[in-house]
């Protein structure tokens, strides 16, 4: 039997428009934005159309950068195409000020470091081009320990 590799590509470019475009431009500037839905909820990434009524959504709202994990899954053996090359968590992540979560990878080190409700912040890519990969991954928020103040004796 003869076999041969086959790679399918769809090498065309699309414009993202004023709503998704605003999200992508925000990423380049290290800012997260969502859109306000008809019922007042803030949806992230922004939706072009209201998920319930279907009407155009045009109000862009800044959210984050702090965020909370709403559910997660632990990947022990990342795929070559995954965002991280070491064990990590996929998570649905709700940025502060948003009402819906977005998908992201959390670079948490170990499964024991992840839980629902974990506070995370973005780790931005050094070079950003207005793509979702500009948000390289999320990392646990560093909490400031209570005892770091220098005590004078």
């Amino acid at each position: 039997m003869l076999t041969a590799p086959l790679i399918i590509e769809y090498p065309f470019k699309r414009t993202t428009g004023p709503v998704i475009g605003a999200f992508m431009t925000g990423l380049r500037e290290r800012i997260l934005v969502g859109s306000r839905a008809a019922d007042g909820r803030v949806i992230v990434p922004p939706a072009e159309f209201d998920p319930v009524t279907g009407e155009d959504l045009t109000e862009i709202v800044e959210v984050g950068p702090g965020a909370e994990v709403t559910t997660w899954a632990w990947v022990t053996e990342p795929h070559a195409k995954h965002p991280l090359d070491r064990p990590f968590a996929w998570a649905l992540i709700k940025p502060d000020g948003a009402d819906t979560p977005m998908l992201g990878a959390v670079d948490a080190g170990s499964i024991d470091a992840v839980h629902t409700g974990l506070r995370v912040v973005p780790r931005w890519a050094d070079e950003r081009e207005g793509r979702i990969e500009d948000l390289a991954c999320w990392v646990p928020e560093r909490t400031t320990p209570a005892n770091v103040e220098y005590k004078r004796s």
Binding site: M1, I43, V44, T71, H82, L92, I132
Partner: protein, 352 residues
């Protein structure tokens, strides 16, 4: 509404890899058998509708080759959906309702084995904000399972019970790919695949094909003793963005089940298209079948999950049990998209 019934069903033996046959060669015995069983040829069919995916076949317009396989000359009326055959069946049912034709052939097939299926399926996600991250099918299902566990609505032992029961049921299904008898407790000792899912929580990767013949009224009664009448059929979809959905429930299945009339009578058998153990629990709740004792007697998608065909197989498995007299009324369900995004529910019934 016209009475329309499933009068014939056939499927290929589900296998991890069908290497020595192409899609046409894999499908043709199935379409041949489904027509032979009711003494029909393609000339007796008013409308042909197929379900398959170019993304799995690896070429554009791949359905044309298999359409050639069923014999489209002289020209036939046909259509195709880039979806599970259950949705092709829906289109054929609508076509019969229009009144111009009395019979339809529905078929579907896929070979997932040549590619990297969980990664191929990422191409159905939002192309701007999700697909570039390549979140595989299993990882997305694991997010849903965790949400269900967090909500206190399932546990890993309960999910393992679904896995054990499904593969045990599959021992009676000669077409199943995965069939074994192991206690759920043993399964929990295995490592996580993508936590909280273990391998046993996931459907296998399958190459396969299935076909159904539909017929209306007397065209059905003339050909089989006990047609499996479609009493209700409906499909609904939810938003593409996972964050816009409550992943712990299936609102679209609930609505489709209401529209199809699941609760209008007793359910003797249900075949639910749940490629992951926790999804069976979500679907049971959405359809009011939480404690039902006869769900997925075939072993379900956890025992064989040919993409584009596993949903139609659910309809076929219920129809077969009704036509044999084993069941009087049953529910079949098919799903499409990530984490149960789109769902079809079909209620089938025999005549007493």
């Amino acid at each position: 509404m016209r009475d329309v019934a499933v009068i014939s069903f056939a499927q290929a033996k589900n296998q991890r890899r069908v290497a020595d046959l192409n899609e046409v060669e894999m499908l043709m015995p199935v379409t041949g058998q489904v027509l032979d069983q009711v003494g029909m040829t393609i000339d007796d069919i008013g409308f042909t509708c197929s379900g398959s995916s170019d993304y799995l076949a690896g070429v554009g317009f791949s359905f044309v080759s298999t359409l050639d396989g069923v014999g489209p000359w002289p020209p036939i009326q046909e259509s195709h959906v880039e979806m599970d055959g259950a949705f092709a069946l829906y289109e054929a049912w609508v076509k019969i309702q229009l009144g111009e034709i009395d019979t339809a052939l529905v078929y579907c097939y896929s070979k997932s084995s040549p590619g990297d299926l969980p990664m191929v399926l990422t191409r159905q996600l939002d192309p701007y904000t999700v697909a570039p991250l390549w979140p595989d099918t299993v990882s997305l299902a694991a997010l849903q399972a965790r949400a269900l566990i967090d909500a206190g609505r399932t546990t890993e032992p309960e999910m393992a019970e679904v896995a054990a029961r499904s593969r045990r049921s599959a021992l009676d299904n000669p077409n199943a790919q995965l069939a074994w008898d192991r206690p759920a407790g043993d399964l929990l000792t295995e490592d996580y695949h993508v936590a909280p899912l273990r391998k046993h929580d996931c459907a296998p990767i399958t190459d396969g094909a299935a076909a159904v013949v539909l017929a209306a009224g007397d065209a059905a009664r003339r050909r089989v003793e006990r047609p499996a009448w479609i009493r209700g059929i409906d499909h609904r979809i939810e938003p593409m963005a996972l964050g816009l959905r409550d992943l712990t429930v299936s609102a679209s299945t609930r609505l489709a089940g209401e529209k199809a009339g699941v609760a209008d009578g007793p359910v003797d058998v249900a075949e639910l298209h749940a490629p992951f153990t926790h999804q069976e629990l979500i679907l049971r709740e959405a359809l009011g079948l939480v404690d039902h004792q006869n769900v997925n007697p075939s072993g379900g998608a956890l025992s064989a999950n040919p993409m584009l065909a596993a949903g139609l197989i659910r309809i076929g498995e219920v129809a077969t049990r009704i036509s044999s007299g084993e069941a009087d009324r049953g529910v079949a369900h098919a799903t499409s998209g990530p984490c149960l995004q789109q769902n079809l529910v079909c209620v089938l019934e025999g005549e007493s």
